[in-house]
Symmetry: C2
Subunit: 444 residues, 2 copies
């Protein structure tokens, strides 16, 4: 069991700053904790009871020890609260902001010192904390009515920024994928990305780890742990604070320095750790990696029913270092005989607006051994494409065992078709270039 | 009146290849033409009547002349049909494919010759034709039940690829924008992008022209007409067929050669013509340009309630040549006094998860004279953000008269909030980097 297991599977939690209403952050978190199986001790001197639970005026009046304390009171109160918690808990999540990110480094150093003395691990301050769908343990102060949580799944999300995690939640949910766990670690005074890499490297429920990083404290350890993790499962990193403006912004966000991006980038590349260039690529790659296992090769077959989208996809393949190789001559001749003369039997294969669902499968079956990855482009705004396409491609993917991604354009049947594909673990993208980048993630 | 006006506002149309059912392309187009105010003469030897209209077995039996003929019969029949049409029509749209794009250059040359002899203008072959929402004139063979058309608006769409046009239709529709007209011109044997640039340059209903180009016949004329158009209104070009793979694909798509992209790119840049790097940027820039008029400057103010998204936006500004300049000292001090101490009063301004709608307006009002463009980032998954935000920002934009774009993350209120913003002509983007790129389009 990881040393951080306590933070994902606590048996009991003290919530300092619990509130009676979900208009307050302390009320949102308390409401979330009601769904979690363990004991909850809300602390608030103004109420004898909160949401049906006995409330305690101070920490000292709680009659027993607890695994975790979650602190949501204003920053200046935090040192005093920590002193009260001494000997009472085994771990801390400090959600409160108002520390190094706004220049209050002395206060942050004081907190660091007290936590060290207490001999416990601490997440934060200035953080979202933990979401563990397997235990319904959720310290995020975002009301579920506004932000739905993703279902259980295989992607672990680690982020300095709480905002990013909440965006990733949405991305997983809308792409029919799920989370194995999520952590917003904020200013990273104690627990940082490296600790979390180790935790999820050993977590059997996690197949891919997604990490948003602004700044890294101990660069050497970061690289070492990232490398160790990525030898076990795909690790995907989005680094923010790349230029001068972003670095200034990062420092006033979590109070850590962002460092030279070029160095960071070249080290990741050297160790074969995946890097997303921006938010959207992070979302797209997460989707791909949570659906399919990466494999090797660079030969891409593009099959389209819209010529223009095939051209754009071929352009992007070149940009991404993927090869749109020619069809083997004999098979090309066979396909030419099978299809009407106006189909374009090259790579991309252009099935034109006259396409029928089955045509895609005919091409895939003929060429499955000649390519390493497959990009299906379908504009479902013509009568020949139906919901059956999803079942046909699903069958192909299961037997071929190679990466397959889809670019669907919008149409009345697109939402249903997308759901069918994604439930079959075939990621759907809304632009040909994004689909190519998703496919590239699966081929390295 | 443009010489191509006939193609957008015909009084009467002959449809060769009309069908009785919308499962066939000739039936879809006939159904579309029923909604158009002019006379329609369907030609089909098998039926005396089609969709309530008298049908003609051959062209020669149509008793009068017509403005346009639309041809949807197989390619080998086209030369014969054209000969029958001699003296009968003033313009031609050949939708049929099976010409130079599959190597049938001789057939295409034959068609070119006959059309020249006829002395009329021709769109196609291998094309979608025309959509003019102002006349409900629609030759697109995509059933409206599958692909909804955009409403009337100010964006003209010109594309070699029909697939791209249909994707742009969706993009306009989902972003609450509209089209002034759309043309898919396919193999461009006669009418090409340059002719269409001239047409829309003079079209009073068009404020922005969006052009998807794979290949250009007469490069000098293309640049000349593009330049002339872009001096009147924004022209946005997406060039496909950039690399070797894409160029091969382009040639088997519309049978024209794509040429050296580097040359194309540097000429566009020299003449200040906007270029989108990929499909998504085309969509995003179209949305921006159809909502707001471009202006000058490069100083960007970013206001966020999610620190991480602000950092990513600042990074992208730098990448795009935009400046995230410091707040003027005095105003910064004033804002610091106005807001709680944990708000980050820098650029990006970080209003944190404790934000209230009005805080955005407070910052904008204070700093409206110090910046050229404004990026609002809102994560609406916290209680302090409501639908009222749209009205507040709308008011600001109307008085400030400078570009304003929004990055909204997903939440239960995001769809409604997006609609409110976009109806107020403030474009909404789903990632911070896309929002920055949208803003950049409006600042050049």
């Amino acid at each position: 069991m990881s040393s951080l297991d306590l933070f994902f599977n606590p048996r009991s939690v003290i919530l300092i700053g619990a509130a009676h209403t979900e208009i307050k952050f302390g009320g949102i978190v308390l409401r979330n904790l009601l769904r979690f199986g363990g004991k909850v001790f809300p602390v608030n001197p103004k109420y004898p009871e909160l949401m049906g639970l006995k409330a305690y005026p101070t920490v000292s009046e709680i009659p027993e020890q607890a695994d975790l304390a979650i602190i949501m009171r204003p920053a200046p109160e935090v040192p005093g609260i920590l002193r009260e918690l001494k000997g009472k808990v085994r771990g801390l999540i400090i959600i409160s902001s108002g520390f190094a990110e706004i220049g209050e480094t002395a206060l942050q150093d004081e907190v660091r010192g007290i936590v060290k003395e207490m001999g416990v691990r601490m997440l934060g301050p200035n953080c979202m904390g933990v979401y563990n769908p397997h235990r319904r343990f959720d310290t995020f102060f975002l009301p579920p009515s506004r932000l739905k949580r993703p279902k259980r799944g295989n992607a672990a999300l680690i982020s300095q920024s709480g905002a990013l995690i909440s965006c990733l939640f949405n991305a997983l949910r809308t792409s029919h994928a799920g989370a194995s766990g999520a952590v917003g670690y904020g200013n990273a005074v104690d627990i940082n990305e490296s600790d979390l890499f180790d935790h999820f490297a050993d977590d059997a429920k996690t197949d891919v780890v997604v990490s948003y990083v602004e700044s890294v404290g101990d660069g050497r350890r970061f690289i070492e742990r990232a490398k160790a993790l990525s030898e076990k499962k795909p690790l995907l990193i989005l680094k923010a604070g790349k230029g001068a403006s972003g670095q200034t912004a990062a420092s006033s966000h979590t109070g850590r320095l962002a460092g030279r991006y070029e160095v960071f980038h070249s080290i990741l590349k050297r160790f074969g750790i995946r890097e997303a260039v921006d938010f959207e690529e992070l979302i797209d790659a997460t989707k791909a990696l949570s659906c399919q296992r990466p494999s090797r090769g660079s030969r891409i077959l593009i099959i389209t029913n819209g010529g223009g989208l095939g051209v754009l996809a071929a352009d992007e393949c070149m940009k991404q270092g993927l090869e749109v190789t020619n069809l083997p001559g004999e098979k090309r001749e066979r396909l030419k005989k099978t299809f009407p003369g106006f189909y374009g039997i090259n790579n991309p294969v252009d099935l034109t607006a006259q396409v029928q669902d089955r045509d895609y499968l005919t091409v895939l079956d003929e060429l499955k051994d000649d390519f390493d990855g497959f990009l299906i482009i379908a504009l479902p705004n013509i009568p020949g494409i139906s919901l059956e396409l999803a079942g046909l491609i699903k069958g192909f993917r299961e037997t071929a065992g190679k990466p397959v991604v889809i670019n669907l354009s919008d149409s009345s049947i697109t939402p249903k078709l997308t759901a069918l594909f994604e439930k079959a673990r075939i990621p759907v993208y809304l632009s040909p270039e994004r689909a190519v980048r998703g496919l590239r993630t699966l081929l390295s």
